[in-house]
Structures are given as structure tokens and as C-alpha cells.
Symmetry: D2
Subunit: 337 residues, 4 copies
Amino acid sequence: MIILMKTGCTKVQIDSVISMLQAKGLDANLSVGREATVIGVLGDKSKLNTENIEVMDGVEKCVPIMHSYKLASREMVPEGRKVTVQNVTFGGEKLVMIAGPCAVENEEQITKAALGVKAAGAQMLRGGAYKPRTSPYAFQGLEDEGYRLLRKAADAAGLLCVSEVVDAQDLTAAGKYCDMIQVGARNMQNFRLLREIGRSGLPVLLKNGIACTIEEWLDAAEYILSEGNQNVVLCERGIRTFETATRNTLDVSAVPVVKERSSLPIIVDPSHAAGKRSLVTPLAMAGIAAGADGIIVEVHPDPKVAMSDAAQQLTLPNFEEFMGKCRKVAAAAGRTL
Amino acid sequence: MIILMKTGCTKVQIDSVISMLQAKGLDANLSVGREATVIGVLGDKSKLNTENIEVMDGVEKCVPIMHSYKLASREMVPEGRKVTVQNVTFGGEKLVMIAGPCAVENEEQITKAALGVKAAGAQMLRGGAYKPRTSPYAFQGLEDEGYRLLRKAADAAGLLCVSEVVDAQDLTAAGKYCDMIQVGARNMQNFRLLREIGRSGLPVLLKNGIACTIEEWLDAAEYILSEGNQNVVLCERGIRTFETATRNTLDVSAVPVVKERSSLPIIVDPSHAAGKRSLVTPLAMAGIAAGADGIIVEVHPDPKVAMSDAAQQLTLPNFEEFMGKCRKVAAAAGRTL
Amino acid sequence: MIILMKTGCTKVQIDSVISMLQAKGLDANLSVGREATVIGVLGDKSKLNTENIEVMDGVEKCVPIMHSYKLASREMVPEGRKVTVQNVTFGGEKLVMIAGPCAVENEEQITKAALGVKAAGAQMLRGGAYKPRTSPYAFQGLEDEGYRLLRKAADAAGLLCVSEVVDAQDLTAAGKYCDMIQVGARNMQNFRLLREIGRSGLPVLLKNGIACTIEEWLDAAEYILSEGNQNVVLCERGIRTFETATRNTLDVSAVPVVKERSSLPIIVDPSHAAGKRSLVTPLAMAGIAAGADGIIVEVHPDPKVAMSDAAQQLTLPNFEEFMGKCRKVAAAAGRTL
Amino acid sequence: MIILMKTGCTKVQIDSVISMLQAKGLDANLSVGREATVIGVLGDKSKLNTENIEVMDGVEKCVPIMHSYKLASREMVPEGRKVTVQNVTFGGEKLVMIAGPCAVENEEQITKAALGVKAAGAQMLRGGAYKPRTSPYAFQGLEDEGYRLLRKAADAAGLLCVSEVVDAQDLTAAGKYCDMIQVGARNMQNFRLLREIGRSGLPVLLKNGIACTIEEWLDAAEYILSEGNQNVVLCERGIRTFETATRNTLDVSAVPVVKERSSLPIIVDPSHAAGKRSLVTPLAMAGIAAGADGIIVEVHPDPKVAMSDAAQQLTLPNFEEFMGKCRKVAAAAGRTL
């Protein structure tokens, strides 16, 4: 970190900053220039709070040189990490395609979905068991029974499966039934949940919060990684903006930005960003063109009767066409599907 | 709810919407006009998903007439609710002033803060025990020991106390030590936590999420109320905007909007909105002028050494001056302090 | 438009709304239902202000059925418009590639850029003559001399050219030198300028404002179209969001949304969205995959010495590689380049 | 400005940065530390583009020490500027109250408004002649005739008057009829207009753009000041956020922030922020409590028939009550009204 002192700061002020740093076991490296006096800080900066320094007399501002995440950074694994879940690998040449309904509604629905998406080429089945809903009066999911039905359908179709966890208390059940767990947008900064997932070692799909920055997202991933769980895959699912034509705005630039700053694989969720069936395919194609390592998309055997997200779920025939278009763009981007 | 059919929709399409409604036990009231065909829906709309209707053939759009929250609505308690915590009442003529450090750091610090804010006229002591932090490497609070020290300091000063809960698992400890618990911005939509708080019956201060709308906030309050807990006080703590001069942007208009739409008391947190000591007092004054039922403000006996939020915490002398200014504005707004 | 009356509204209130409508020469179509009373409005709604109705006693809300733009709507030209500028057509199978420096700096620079981008396959040269800059002390462009040098370079290379107009007073000069003019983000709602461009008949590239919705953008296009100028091409250049890793956030979903709602061609500007060279190519690829009709990209013969936007301009070798990648994605999306 | 070099940068890279700076006539002050190498830059930085430096090899980042505006800064006039328009002074102890309809509609309406707001204590009359409207089909104002009627009404009531200018071409007419001109949110970055206003010397009310930062706003003010016009008053009118309960979100913290960073007076427009009559008074009170130097508020003799902004305009009796409440808060904040 660099501490920039105010023009005209006094020697006493400078000394007081240096003493404070030394008291915390840090090294201070002073450079006095004509325009600016600068103090470089060496050592374990986690002992330091930028804010405490910025309120000291004579200090203009602190300029962090390093980001706060380490394990999630690109520098840590310059060639990029691969996350393997059973027979599926995120971050390789082959994209991972995850498909299935918003929510597990009943055995017939999830089984139809599973068989259908498998036939069209998906590798993993999605389906919500615990649904975080804005209103307490909306359908909240089948809970643990949902996990069980998802597993059964995935097995019947020969697919892996992934489902959301909304509280640390459900990790045991989720881990029993799912190959991978998902952290939704609303829980991206549920730090307790992140730590527990870190301890569980379960492969995890970490979605971005709707109003968080990429740096904050990587800090959230760091919570999981710092507990020893390396199996983290990021999922860009759209951010809140002023646009009302879409449910959220897919930040497709998050894909190349994450590739530069982090070693973690990143996939794209076009369904929640679009909020509308007709936009799902172009957004998935855009995500792949930008370099995504996979797609997670909502597919329902009969969206008209879906208990949630009806407007944005693809039908099974839609999904087949979708796969065809994604395959072409993947090839153009030097990937396979 | 009003369902607006597309211009030129067919009788078959209209009948199909009506059948669907009737199958769910709802009444449909058809009005065919020259420009528009409209279907009014009567009955328990919680059985209905707007999205499922909007994807039906012939449907233009659904127009909700009612908001999704009921218990939190103004209609439920037109004169406004009062929430009483021991000897303190939110929503009456007298404003509730809550003050104390960002985090409980040690016994001496929290005790000094408690005695100081009590002397200047505060009724309740704040202090974080569990601190949700963006980075896993930042100070995360003293946890349960923090609750214990907070209680001890509050008792020593003759104050009530409030502290944040970040997970349902901590409710027992929080309830043992605190008079009121707080849900922070990041947990506004942690629905599991909200439900558990609803079941606990503990008085709760519910902060708004940084990118949520007021309607979503009232839906979150509804989660608590719908479990039978009436003791909900809202706290406006700022929203994320493009402005960088402040840590967040205090949405002072939330105060009169909540007063119109909801029966719940609402207080203002100027500290997290401002992010900077010099802005705290004018923002508190603005909140009171707009009709807030109280203020929660960060005060630290020695902000320079604070372990978090150093830049925005008032000193004890600052707080005394702050109270004087707030008192004048409260009087101008027809309230006491 | 549909006017929804409040539950329990009186006959006098209903009559008063109907009289008001009739006084404006509009037809009112009343439907009285059990849950809702609804008044449909027929005729030229431009005489009507939604707000005036919403403040009338007994009125719950007004629900517009139609958007406010007509000429810009998809319904007007369901097959989509093609905009032809000399020998280049926007909206056909072949994408339009526009490239060149942020600003025209001198004859040598713009000529090098022109020859380079032509060699790599661009059809049109870009280069700013009037630069809207946040600070009055920043480089503001060569003004009319910039237009002249741009024209000269375009002619030398056998390219068309496009440049920004920031005020109606510059339209004559711009029209003399440029094949197409550009309206930048800050002027998207400079309605006087839009009208004058409408009257000029000049082909125009209309960028979106950084905090505007797509509906507002189409309303802005309507200003130009309603003056008789059909030659409007939209350009998505990114929106302001909370993300700091990119200069703006490319809203790639604007491409398919515009294709659904409007007949106008739409191209993508990856440079201003990215703000950083390394992100430009993936964003352009994403835009093309999502269905864009072309790309406008910043290319400078020597970005290190560029007088503006140095960080985001491609070099000429970068641009050649860029074209190769875009060509592959275009083919995958069923287009040519 | 401070240039921070990358860890491990080479001597050649450092020399190359220094040469570049010297070639632009700037002094470079090198400090080589163990952790960081820093180059301080002295001289006229307007010759420098941060971006050009950041793309140089070996450069980590540039840290500006100074903001880009000078004349608008607090440092320039530490005690704060006063802007006097005839017999009215912005920035003194007495607040300036400006009231009147959104738009001048006809002589009777504006005259009634003028007499009414004068009677209740306003000093200045507002009324739009040129109305920037999202759709070309909405009412666009009476144009120059509007200015004339506004002047006539103001004179009849003994008030000063202010009205918006949307294009440099209207400055002559506006200057002839108005005591002060207004730049609206959409034109905050219409730099040509700002420069022309700077040259005109006319007193100006500069509103903030709905998605601009305070720094960008002060840069906009700098455009006017740098042309020699000192008579600039800022007006906070709300920003765009995700909140839908209000038309915009009043950023009340802009008041104390502007007071710290700038010498310019600042007033508050509660009407456009609120978008709804019932919220106007609490927002005005909040603005005054936060330290605003005045209020501009929409008042219409008969809002029901207003041609624009019907929902947010106060009636004359509303305005009288409004003035009473504002007066009390002003006194509590140590001001008069």
C-alpha cells in the first residue's frame, strides 16, 4: 500500500504514521519529493485498515496496490484453474452445458426435463429445491424433497446435478443429493454460508450479486477458497440496471474481466439476465463468444404451467435449437460443446 | 389483478385464461371493450404467478392492483404502528436515538462509548459483534463475546442495546444479550434468517439492501411479520449509486414513502450513508426533517484506532454537538428528542 | 390507454374522467366489474397527459398499452429497415465495420489509420472532430479542421467516414465532410439537435445515453424519424453501472431487444464500453453473436501518443486480428463481414 | 499527479516515463523505494492525459492528487461564494425560495401562479418555456412566448424569474426576459451550451445530470466559470436509482458534499426528485436541514389541468403550508427564509 501525505504535511505527522505502522509490525518506506511525500508499506497488510490511516492528520489518501483476494487471483494460477466435478470439467476446451427447470416441481416434470436436456447434449441438470422469493407468499420450493427428486431424475438421465443452497443448515442435504451446489445472487455476500461451503469442500457455482462489483465477487470467492475449497466456478447471471426491457442486464464483459483477474472458471446464465425466452439464445451466444466456460439455462417441459420464471424458461424443442446455435459460436471461439 | 388481453385476441384465448383462473379457484370478471379486453381476477392471488399468465396466448400484460405485502401495509394499521422495546417506543412523538461504535472491540472501548452516548442523551447502544466484511481477511468482530460486552456496557450505562445477527444460528445468543437485533443490508433478503427472526419474536431493526426497492424492503418485512413478529422497525442506511463522494447515498425520500405505504416505524442511519464524519450531522438532520422516527449513528471514543469504519464514526464531543442540532430540527418537525 | 379506477370509486368520479376525455376529443369505453372499473381510451392519445389523469379523484392508475414511439417501432417495418449510406448498408446480411481513432489529431495520424483499417477490411472511417470532454481543460478536438482531415483521409483510403456532431450549429460543416454523423451518449436527449438532424436528412448513428432505457432511446430516434429522416442507425456503447473494471458496461441484450421492438439497425461500440484494449475483441465478438449489424471500434496507429482514449484504442495489428475473430463469429451467427 | 510504477519495472521503463513528461515541459520527481517506485509530476497537468501514461510499459497506475476543476473548488473561495441576482442573494443567511409551474401555459395561469407564490413569500418565479420531453409527441412548451409571459407575470407580482434554456441559440431571448437562466439535467454536459452561457455572463442555475457524479457536476460548472461567468448556482434535482416509488432519488448528501468541495451556492429541487405532491414538503425540509441555500419548487394554480408534471405540482394553498414548514426548519438550521 502507498500512503500519500498531504502537501505541506509536517514531520510530526509523518513520524506519527510511521510509528503506527511499526507498532503493527509493518515496514515503512518514506520518499519525500517536492510535490508529494509518499510512504510505502511492507508486510502483512491484513493487519491494517485503510480507513484508520486516512483519518490521521496529514494523510491525503491510501492507494492500495494489491487487491484483497489472493487465492482467487490470476497470479496464483496464471494458466487458469480447472474445476472437475465427476466426469465434467469447467475451464477446459469443452464448454459445460447445464440445463433444467427453475424449480423442481414434481417427479414427472423434473424427469421429463432431465431426459430432454440430456438428449440435446447437456451434461448437468439444474433445478431449484429452495427458492429465495421476494414475497413470503410465493412458491418457495419443495425443499429437501426437491433435492431428492433432482438426484433421481439426474440419475435416470445419466446427468450430474446442481441446486441452490440458501442456508448453511441445508448443506448436508444438498451435499448428499447434488454433485455441485449453487450460491444465488442474494447470498453472494452471505459470508457465513460461504465459509461453511468452503469447509464442506463441495463443488460450488457462485453467482454474482445484482449490485456487486467483480472485485467484491472475487472477495466472496476468496471466502470459500480460503477455507480450503478449490472447487469454485463463477456464474455471471446479470446485474440490476435502469433497463426494464430485461429482467437484469447480462454483464458479458465480466467474462473477459474475470479471465484477466482471476484463475477461476466462469459460466454464464442467460435466463435470469434475459427474463424472457426470446432473448435467452442471443445472450448465451454472446456469453460463449466472450469466452465463457459454459452456460446454465432454464428449460422446462411445459413453461406455461411452471411454478416460477415461466416467461424465461425454454421448451425442450427450444433447447435443441439453442444447443445448435451455441455449438456454432463455440467453434468460432475455438471451443467445443 | 387485471389481465389485459391483446388487441384482436380470440374467444378461445380469452376462454383459456378464464378456465385457468377457475381451475385455481379464482373468479374471473370479463369486460370486453372496443379497444381492450380486460379480465379482473378475484380471490386469493397468492395462488397465481403473473408470469404464467403473461406467457399465455392472447395476453398483453398483467397489472397488479395490490402490492404483495399485507401486514406491512399502511392499510393494515392506518394510524401507524408503534414498536416498544422495554422503555423505548419507536413511532411515537419522541425520537429514538441509538448510538455506539461500529464494532465492539473490547470492554473499555464499549463501556466508554456507552457512558458517553448515554450522557449526551442516547437511549440505546449499538455495537457490532458479527461484522460482515467484503474480504475474509478483514476484522470479523468478537462474535458472541461481543454481544456479552455490549450487554455489560449497556447495563453499566443504563441503556438498551442492539446488535446485528448474520445467521439464524446466532439468534439464541443475540436474543440472550440484546434488547433488539439488527438485520444488515446484505441480509435484507436472507429469507431464512427473516423467517427465524419472525418466529423468535425479537424486536428487529431491518436495514434496506443497497440495491433494493422500497417494495422489496416491505416484502422482506412481511417475511418477519407473517411469522407473527410485530416488532419490526425499518432503518434506511443508504443505497448504492454512482456517486463516489459518499459511501452510499442516503435515500431520505424513503422516510415519507414508507410512512405512506407502510405502518412500520422508520429510522435513519446517516453513518453508513455518509461514510465520512463531516457529513453525518447534516444527513441526520435531513432524516429527522423528513419525518424519521429515530437515528442510529456510529460513535467511537477514539475513531483513530477503530477497527472498522474509522472515517465515519463521531467522537463523543461530536455526538454531543450532533444531539443539539438534531434536537432543534426535531422540534421544527414537531417531534421531541 | 387503460384507466384503472380505484375500488369504491363513485359515479361522479367516473363521469368526471369520461367528461375530461371527451372534452379532448377522445372516446371513453367504460367497463364496470366487481373488482375493478376500467376505462379504455380511444383516439389520439398525444393530447393526453397520463399524469393529469392519475391525479384525478377516484383514479388508481393509467396503464399505457402502446409505447410512445411509432416510426421507430418494429410494427411500422416488421421486416426491419435497411439504412444505406453510399455503398454501405446497415441491416443486411453483411456487417458494417467502422474503425478509426477516437479523435482526429493530425493529417498523418488519420491517414495512417485510414489506410490501415481499410487494408484490414473496414468500410468506414471514424474520427472525432468535436470531442465532448468532462473537463474544460481537456483536449476538445480539432473542430471543423478535424472534419476536413477525416474526409481527406477517408478519400485517400477509399472509405466512407462518420464523425460526431455536438451542436446543431455544426451540422452544415459535418454534412459537408462526413457521409454519416454521430450523436454521442451525452446528446442522446439533446432534442433540439435531434430535430435538426431529422430536418437535415443526414444518415445518423445514434448512441444510447449512459443511464437511459431502451424505450427512451427509441423515443430519441423518433425525434429524428418524425422530422422525415429515415436514415437512423442505433449504436449500443455501454451504460453506467457500479462496475469499475470496465469504463461502462456493454448492454449486449440491447441488440436482441432493439431487434424485437424496433425496425432500426443496431451496431455495437465495444471500445467505449470496455475502456481497455484487451476487452475490446471479446466484447465485439459478443455483440456480433447477439445479432449486431456492425461494429464501430477505436483504432489508432500509435495509441501510446493518442490525445484521448489511449487505453482502449487498438493498434493496426490488433485490428487485423480483431477482424479475423469477428469474421468467424459472424459466420457462426449466419452473417458475413 | 503521482505515477506508480509496477513492482519490478526496469530503469529503461522509468526513464521512458520521465522523458515523456519532460517532453511535455513537466518536471518529474523520482522516488525509488523497496516496495514501490513513484514518480511525482509537477507543472501544468492539463497537458497530460492519464490514459497515455497508464498504457506505458512498467506503469501500474496514475493517482490524481488534484481534482480537475479549479474555479469551482472550495479552495478558490474558502468562505463560499455569494451569487446575487438583482435584489436576491444565493449563499447568504437568507434562503432563496423559487416557485412556479412546471411550464408556462398561458397568461392567466402564470399570472395566478406568480401572485400566489409572491403572497406566500417566494422571491423568484419559475416556469418552463422550452420543455425537453422524452417523446416528440409531448407538449414542448410555448417557447419564446413562454419567456415573455413569464416576465410579464413576474413583473406584475414583483418577482424575479428563472427559466430553462435548452440550446445556445435561445440565449438571447432568455437573457432578454429572464433574470436567471436554468440548465436542466439533460444538458448538464452540453458543453457548447455551458461555454456560451459562460460567455453570456447570465446568472445560471445548473442542475445535476441524473446519472452524473458530483465531480462531473463541478467540472460542468467549471465550463461556465472558466469563460468568466461567476454567477453559478447549483441545483440538486435528484438522481436516477432503482427506486420506483419516487420519480428520482433526491441526493440530499450532495448539499454538504458540495459545501465542502466547492464554493458555489446550492439549492434543492424537491419536485422533480419526488414526482409526487405528498413527498415534496418533507424533501424540501430535508434539503434545508442539510444546509441548502434555497429551494425551487413546482406550484400550479390548478395542477389537475397542468400540461406537464401534474402529479408533483403543489397547489397555492399547499405552497403556503409548505412555506410555513420550511421556515421552521430553516430557523432550526440557523437560517432565515
